[in-house]
Symmetry: C2
Subunit: 209 residues, 2 copies
DNA sequence: TTCTTTTTGTAACGATCGGCATATTATTTT
DNA sequence: AAAATAATATGCCGATCGTTACAAAAAGAA
């Protein structure tokens, strides 16, 4: 059968370009002109490939999630819950301020649509955040079963705490905080972490921040 | 001199109505139609009173800030830095999920424009957040001078930590977290607080969350 | 070459955006 | 009552929104 005229653009590169636009301007703030110019194609090509602006955004979201899968898998495999928390918060602190110059600081899941008109995008993004929080919660439930966390620990609260902290750090990054400042915040947040055995040392004296 | 035809709407009530719209839909997501319908006036009246959509939003921001002045003044007057932190985080936790049914959960400073096109609104909102963070920092600097906080404590980091935590809590609220859940997160966050004297107790055992 | 298929570029669609010109209505002052 | 003033309602402005018809262009298959 015939193959037709070949595409003039790479789908993955197009998604990366679109991701930058959504990240910087938000979902509703990103116009089709912004997107097509960033990708370097005309709108009919974009609609043929992704269906709609929302379809393009969902494809971008998938790509964004895929890039973080390795990060999440790695930290969830940590031997102790505390190390999970440490890897999570410090990992977020690491990439929130410095995204390699390609994307703006902060988090796509926050920047692109906390509120945007009557769109369902905010709910979609909230669902994504909730999924990551659930992954943390399940890991902490296992930690309680294994005695890694005290019996009195509440996995849901711990996961929500980390999730909130991560979101707060992202907002700090978007407001211009440096990587060093974000790590200081992360370290301080981890001082609240419950330890089964030895008494807790204040991070203030431990790292003199 | 003549006084002309009297206004058909109350400015303050109009601002409250507009605040709800901006809060729920974000700055760019809130259309003039949304705003005029919510207020119950026609657009020329709105433009005569506030100049533009941006002017209306700035007026809403002022009103939003004014409503929180009492809250901030109260907590900054607390005798110790830890109590400042406690009042701040728990205060945020309190009004983030339950705004009295008038406004959506979350924080206007976050909901209305983390990212929105080429507008300068996000920067404006970031500036407002930075101001509150600066108020906390100055209070903690005083606490270090007064010996209320250990010499090794970093007021900037503590303020940034609380600000990030507050933002994270707001996002949690916007995602549907209950007031109880938010207070649990706030209590956990406060377990990281540096104490000069007695050893720190894990909040996990203290409140069994 | 001719046919088929797919993508491309051009151009335009209706809808909605924020904003405003104009004229009418309501009130106070003279 | 007449003039002056200010806010009202109606209707429309150009621009931009996301989206799509349409036909030319580029490839493989016949």
């Amino acid at each position: 059968m015939a193959a037709g005229r070949p595409r003039s653009f790479c789908t993955e590169k197009a998604l990366d370009s679109a991701m930058q636009v959504f990240w910087r301007k938000g979902y509703e703030g990103a116009s089709m002109v912004d997107l097509t110019e960033a990708i370097g194609i005309n709108s009919p090509s974009l609609y043929a490939a992704f269906g709609s602006k929302e379809g393009l955004f969902r494809a971008v979201l998938e790509r964004y999630d895929a890039r973080r899968i390795a990060f999440m898998e790695n930290l969830l495999a940590a031997p102790t819950a505390q190390e999970v928390a440490e890897r999570f918060l410090h990992g977020v602190a690491e990439f929130a301020a410095d995204t390699g110059g390609k994307n703006p600081p902060g988090c796509l899941l926050l920047q692109s649509g906390l509120s945007c008109g009557d769109s369902i995008i905010p709910d979609e993004l909230a669902r994504h955040r909730a999924e990551k929080e659930a992954a943390l919660r399940e890991r902490f439930e296992r930690a309680v079963r294994e005695g890694d966390l005290p019996r009195t620990a509440n996995p849901s609260t711990l996961a929500r705490y980390l999730s909130a902290m991560a979101n707060g750090i992202c907002i700090q990054a978007a407001s211009g905080a440096s990587t060093k400042e974000l790590h200081e915040v992360a370290a301080l947040a981890l001082a609240a972490w419950p330890i089964s055995g030895e008494p807790q040392t204040s991070v203030m004296e431990k790292e003199s921040i």
